[in-house]
C-alpha cells in the first residue's frame, strides 16, 4: 500500500473517531434507551387492551413504520420550525430516532410477550399479584430474553442509521468524513475507513450481545414450554 494512503488513514482516524465517540455513540445509546421505554409502554398498552390507547398505539406504529426515517428527520428538523417549533440538531435526532425505533421495537416486545406461556400470567394473578405486577416481574423479564437478539439487531442497525443525522447538521462520524473528503479528495480511502470504524463499533456490540445472552441464560431461561 502507498505510504500516503497509510498516513492519510492514520491522520484522519482520530478525527473521524472523535465525533463517533462524541456524537454517534451518545446518539445511539440515548435514542435506543428512550426507544425501549416507548416500545415497552406501547406493547403493554396493547397487551392490556386499554380501549383508546390501544388504537393510538396501532396508529403510531402504522405511521412510523410506513414512512422513511429520513423523511421523519426532515419533518422534525426542517418542517416543525414553520410551526414555531425549533429543536437543536442533536435533540431533534434523538427525538426522531427514539420515536422511530420505538415503533419497531414495540412489535418485537409485543411478540416476545405473547411468546411467554399464558400460564405464567395466570400463576402470577393466582398468587395475588396484579396484572401489571405480573407483567413487570414475571412476563417482561422472560420476554426480554426472547426479544434480546432482535433488539440487538435493532441497536446495531441504529448505530449505522445515525449517519442519516448528518442530513440535519449533526456532526457525527459520517459528516466529519465528508468534510475531510472535501479537503483531501480521497473518497475511497476515507469512506472505507469510516466503514471500518462502524464495523468495529458493531463488532463490539456483537460481543456484548453474546455476553448478555449468556448472562440471561443463567437465569432460568427455557427454550420452549415443556
Amino acid at each position: 500500500m502507498d505510504n500516503s494512503v497509510v498516513s492519510l488513514m492514520l491522520d484522519s482516524f482520530w478525527k473521524i473517531l472523535k465525533p463517533g465517540l462524541q456524537m454517534t455513540i451518545p446518539l445511539t445509546l440515548l435514542s435506543f434507551a428512550f426507544a425501549l421505554v416507548i416500545a415497552t409502554v406501547t406493547a403493554l398498552v396493547q397487551e392490556a387492551k386499554i380501549p383508546v390507547l390501544r388504537q393510538l398505539a396501532r396508529f403510531y406504529i402504522w405511521v412510523i413504520r410506513g414512512t422513511p426515517l429520513l423523511v421523519q428527520l426532515f419533518v422534525v428538523f426542517y418542517g416543525l420550525p414553520s410551526l414555531g417549533i425549533l429543536i437543536e440538531p442533536f435533540p431533534a435526532a434523538v427525538l426522531v430516532f427514539s420515536i422511530n425505533e420505538g415503533a419497531y421495537s414495540a412489535e418485537t416486545i409485543r411478540a416476545a410477550i405473547e411468546s411467554v406461556p399464558r400460564g405464567q400470567l395466570e400463576a402470577g394473578e393466582c398468587v395475588g399479584m396484579s396484572w401489571l405486577q405480573t407483567m413487570w416481574r414475571i412476563i417482561l423479564p422472560q420476554a426480554l430474553r426472547t426479544a434480546f437478539p432482535t433488539l440487538f439487531n435493532s441497536l446495531i442497525s441504529m448505530v449505522k442509521d445515525t449517519s442519516l443525522a448528518a442530513n440535519i447538521t449533526v456532526t457525527e462520524m459520517f459528516m466529519q468524513t465528508q468534510r475531510i473528503v472535501a479537503r483531501t479528495y480521497e473518497p475511497l480511502v476515507l469512506y472505507i475507513e469510516v466503514g471500518i470504524i462502524y464495523l468495529l463499533m458493531c463488532t463490539i456490540l456483537t460481543k456484548v450481545q453474546a455476553w448478555g445472552e449468556k448472562k440471561l441464560n443463567a437465569r432460568g431461561y427455557q427454550r420452549s414450554a415443556a
Partner: protein
C-alpha cells in the same frame, strides 16, 4: 362446620358448547373435595371459574362470607378473592425466571408486601415441608416435574390460603413421580387444609378426599361423602365410571 365456599348455578359456554350447565356446591372448612369425571365434563373449567381465571356466564360464588357475581365481579373483588385462595396447575406454571425460593416468595413480597427476610424464612419453611429445601436456589428448568409441582404446592401454601384449588396436579407427571406430589397433598389434607381437587387419581380420592363429586357433561351427577360415592353410588353412571377407572389402576 363452617362453610368456606358455596357456589350456585355456575354456567359457562365456549361458543356453542355448554361446558357448565348450572353447577352448585357447598364446601366446608377442612373438606377435601375430589372432583371426578371423564375428560370434557367441565371439571377444570369449573375450577377456573371459581378463581376467575375463566369468566362464567352466570352464577354466584360465596367465599368466606363474601358474595361474588361469577360473571360480573370487579377486578378488585377478584383480587381480594385470590388473596385468600391458591391454585395449583396441571403444568405447574412456576415462574421460569425465578428460583424455587423466589417462586414461593413472590406472592408474599409483591402481592402482600411482606418484608423480604420474613418472606424468605416463610418460603424456606414451606419448601422444607414439601421436601424441596435442598433445591431452593434452583430454577424450574433444573427441576423434575414432580419437584416443580412440589414447589408449586409450597407457593400455594406459603400465603396461608383458606382453600387451594388443584387442577389435575399429577396428570402431567410420570407415574413414578405422582407419589411424591400426592403424599404432600395427603399431609396437607391431614393438617386440615381445605382443598378442591380435580383428579383422575382414584386411589387418592378414595383415601384422602372427605367428599367426592362426580361430574359429567357439565353437571354434577352425584356428590357425597367419599365412602358412599365409591361404595354405594346412587347413579349408574357414577358406578360405571368408578369401575372403569379403578380397573385401569390394576
Amino acid at each position: 362446620m363452617t362453610t368456606i365456599l358455596k357456589f350456585n348455578d355456575i354456567r359457562k359456554s365456549f361458543g356453542e358448547l355448554d361446558v357448565l350447565k348450572g353447577i352448585g356446591l357447598e364446601v366446608n372448612k377442612g373438606d377435601v373435595v375430589a372432583i371426578l369425571g371423564p375428560s370434557g365434563s367441565g371439571k377444570t373449567t369449573l375450577l377456573r371459574c371459581l378463581n376467575f381465571l375463566e369468566r362464567a356466564d352466570s352464577g354466584s360464588i360465596v367465599f368466606d362470607g363474601v358474595q361474588y357475581d361469577a360473571a360480573k365481579a370487579t377486578k378488585k373483588e377478584i383480587r381480594a378473592l385470590r388473596m385468600k385462595t391458591a391454585f395449583v396447575f396441571q403444568n405447574y406454571n412456576l415462574f421460569a425466571n425465578k428460583t424455587a425460593v423466589e417462586n414461593v416468595m413472590e406472592g408474599l413480597v409483591t402481592a402482600r408486601r411482606v418484608r423480604k427476610e420474613e418472606a424468605k424464612a416463610k418460603a424456606l419453611e414451606t419448601l422444607e415441608k414439601v421436601g424441596m429445601l435442598d433445591w431452593a436456589n434452583h430454577y424450574p428448568i433444573q427441576l423434575s416435574g414432580g419437584q416443580q409441582q412440589r414447589v408449586a404446592i409450597a407457593r400455594a401454601i406459603a400465603t396461608n390460603p383458606d382453600i387451594i384449588f388443584f387442577d389435575e396436579p399429577t396428570s402431567a407427571l410420570d407415574p413414578e413421580l405422582t407419589g411424591e406430589v400426592l403424599s404432600v397433598m395427603k399431609t396437607l389434607a391431614q393438617e386440615g387444609m381445605t382443598m378442591l381437587v380435580v383428579t383422575h387419581e382414584m386411589k387418592f380420592a378414595r383415601q384422602v378426599a372427605t367428599r367426592t363429586v362426580f361430574m359429567e357433561n357439565g353437571v354434577i351427577v352425584e356428590e357425597g361423602p367419599t365412602k358412599e360415592v365409591f361404595e354405594h353410588p346412587r347413579e349408574k353412571r357414577t358406578q360405571e365410571f368408578i369401575n372403569r377407572m379403578e380397573m385401569d389402576d390394576f
